[in-house]
Amino acid sequence: MSGAAALALSAREAMLRQRRRVLWRVLLAGPLVFVGAALVMCGGALWLPAGRAQIDNLVLPIVLFPAIWAALFFYACLDRQLHRAYWLIGALGLLHAAMIAVHLWH
Amino acid sequence: MSNTLWALCALALSLLPLWRLARHDPKRLRSLRQPTSSPGPDRKRLVVLLLLPGGVLAAIGQWPAFLIWLGSLTAGGWLLVQLLAQFTNDNSTRKSG
């Protein structure tokens, strides 16, 4: 294989790798962040303090849902290490999912 | 004093510094190839004067008037920039004609 052909092939590979990376990031920042934010909202009702009126834990996560989503979305878009972003958002989502499951089980 | 009066007073006080800031804005004047006045007005002082009425409304807890003041100031600022651009455009068209 000539040097020019090898160079073209590696450039093509790099482009494909870049495209795959973008797709993985879109998957994280799109549907996965939305599901994660929804889990944090629902799980938040279980660990947030209820406050004087006994309603803060129910109302605050719903009202602040756009802020939860925005924080996770920008983190998912801007973290240079994509696998770390997957781990962190996945862990946050799974933690809340586990809390919800335990609560519903009991 | 009602919401409306508080907001109108604050807006009236803010419009003057806004007008001076817009008229003497060096970037705007440079883009029109007009001479910038030197020394120009103290812009920092004008910005403080612009925001002060809103600060007072917030400090005394007149939140509805504060929101109206902020909203009218931003909408008014945008309108002012549009009008200034239109006015200078018309003037230069007339001159070139």
């Binding site: 929804a38 406050g51 129910l58 925005a70 519903l104 | 007149q62």
Partner: protein, 526 residues
């Protein structure tokens, strides 16, 4: 100052552009109809005024009027009643029960009625589920058409709400990324280049409007996505987790009124006396009344007041239904003030701008208009930058179609409404037909004529349609200007004038752009 590396700035720029390109046109539709919805009450007062100005929509005699209605309603619907003023200050009352639909979602079923508060006469009566009752609406139908388009793009629930929620999030993203990537342009807050490089001018127009409008774009996007997601899935999802799916139990906890059940029959105390008491007690105007368990010993009457001068938050007042005695004042949620309730209550005034009458509404209208302008100029800038690529020409055409065609289609919905209502027909299909037919015609114009020309046709038609609205209203049996003046119906006069001015502005802006085009052509060497 936030410092971002070059590749992060590039990422944010890509997010800003692509989120706007993929959702910008729908977002523009939601914002533009939101701008119209700011004056929802005024539009319904304009389209369907009563013969005279109503000074008090809850006059003495309200009690007898509602008792008369209750006597004709199946007692199963006495579970809950609410009443409040609607189009032309007609008093709207809805006796209903709560039930689950075929999909297990909660809904209301009952009997709705409208009264003239001056004569206490029954004007209209409908029955069915809440959706069926809304579908038969006539007096508020025109403003409701705009509101439904804004809230859920006329799509069935919850899909419409979920879509507008996503659009709210897209607007939030566009506002945040726009601020971060263009923050250095804050120094150019007053610089709008109209001459010279066309692309630079288009960028200035977009960035200047966006920068001035930034705080409110953020507020409107945040509160808007909360309203959409909250009702579509926020409250049901939290109810699922915290209350095993029982939304009624969750709302009882949130509202905070004790669920002391006593189903023994007891006549409801005099509502007129309770209304007089709450007015004296609160010093505020009454906005909305809810009666739970009409005719039972455990009946509760909750009075929701309008915004007090100088306040964004205020209590509602609860009365015992059977004895009419004042029980307690409470925030919207919970029995005592809390951060959750305060935040919940703040969402409405921040989104609707209805906390200080017409003045605050006018400011919100201007801010909403600026947001719509930012959206459409952003899309035009995107397509202008890529005008050499044929693929983007379709987006440019779609931007012209929606940007200039939607205001025309919204105006023409009124042309479907007035004649059909005057003829006694079904107004909802008439409005939708006029809207869709106009949208189809606008699409034809946008795709069949050059872009500049399609803009001229659509903007010109919008101008003429707006100018014709007051005439149409008069021809379809609307009150005359002298009659409206004598009867004190200010919304009729104000909106007729506003539509005429809006129409003239459209035509004037056409004339201006024609003039500037001919000047540019004259200055261009052959």
């Amino acid at each position: 100052m936030i410092r971002l590396s070059q590749d992060r700035t590039k990422t944010l720029l890509a997010i800003h552009g692509w989120s706007a390109v993929s959702l910008g046109l729908l977002l523009y539709a939601v914002i533009l109809t939101g701008v119209a919805s700011v004056f929802e009450k005024e539009i319904s007062d304009w389209s369907s005024p009563l013969e005279t100005n109503i000074v008090d929509p809850f006059p003495p005699g309200t009690d007898a009027m509602l008792r008369g209605l209750a006597a004709t309603v199946d007692p199963q619907f006495h579970e809950e009643l609410f009443f409040y003023p609607r189009a032309g200050d007609r008093l709207y009352a809805f006796f209903h029960k709560h039930e689950l639909d075929e999909d297990g979602k909660p809904r209301e079923r009952g009997v709705a009625a409208e009264f003239d508060p001056r004569t206490l006469q029954l004007l209209d009566r409908r029955s069915g589920t809440d959706e069926e009752v809304a579908a038969g609406e006539r007096a508020s139908a025109l403003s409701q058409f705009m509101v439904d388009l804004h809230v859920r793009l006329h799509l069935p629930n919850p899909w419409g709400l979920l879509l507008t929620g996503v659009l709210g999030l897209a607007m939030l993203v566009a506002a945040v990324t726009g601020f971060v990537i263009h923050r250095h342009l804050i120094r150019e807050l007053f610089t709008l280049r109209r001459r010279g490089d066309k692309l630079l001018g288009a960028r200035d127009v977009h960035v200047i409007a966006g920068t001035w409008n930034l705080p409110f774009a953020f507020i409107l996007a945040f509160t808007g996505s909360y309203f959409s997601f909250g009702s579509a899935f926020g409250f049901p999802a939290v109810a699922m987790v915290a209350f095993g799916g029982d939304q009624d139990a969750m709302f009882s906890t949130l509202v905070g009124n004790p669920p002391a059940e006593d189903a023994s029959p007891a006549a409801l105390a005099n509502l007129d006396a309770m209304i007089a008491d709450v007015r004296a007690r609160s010093g505020a105007e009454l906005g909305f009344v809810q009666v739970e368990h009409w005719g039972r010993a455990d009946a509760l009457v909750t009075m929701f007041m309008k915004y007090r001068d100088g306040k964004l938050l205020g209590p509602s007042y609860v009365y015992g239904g059977s004895d009419g005695g004042f029980r307690y004042a409470k925030p919207s949620l919970g029995r005592v003030p809390s951060s959750g309730s305060a935040l919940f209550e703040l969402m409405a005034p921040l989104h609707f701008g209805n906390f200080a009458g017409v003045f605050s509404k006018t400011v919100w209208f201007a801010l909403g208009f600026a947001s719509a302008y930012v959206t459409i100029t952003g899309l035009l800038l995107w397509t202008q930058r890529r005008q050499a690529q044929r693929a983007w020409l379709h987006l440019a055409r779609a931007t012209h179609w929606v940007g200039y065609g939607l205001p025309l289609a919204l105006t023409l919905a009124a042309y479907g409404y007035f004649p059909v209502r005057a003829g006694g027909g079904e107004v909802q299909p008439a409005m939708m037909t006029a809207f869709l037919a106009c949208a189809a015609l606008a699409a034809l114009i946008a795709w069949r004529t050059p872009l500049q020309q399609s803009r001229r046709y659509l903007l010109g038609a919008t101008g003429l349609a707006l100018l014709g609205l007051p005439v149409l209203r008069l021809f379809c049996g609307g009150i005359s200007w002298s009659g409206a003046w004598i009867q004190g119906l200010q919304p009729v006069l104000a909106l007729d004038l506003a539509f005429a001015c809006g129409g003239l502005l459209c035509l004037l802006s056409l004339r201006r752009s024609n003039l500037s085009r001919s000047t540019t052509l004259a200055a261009t060497p052959p």
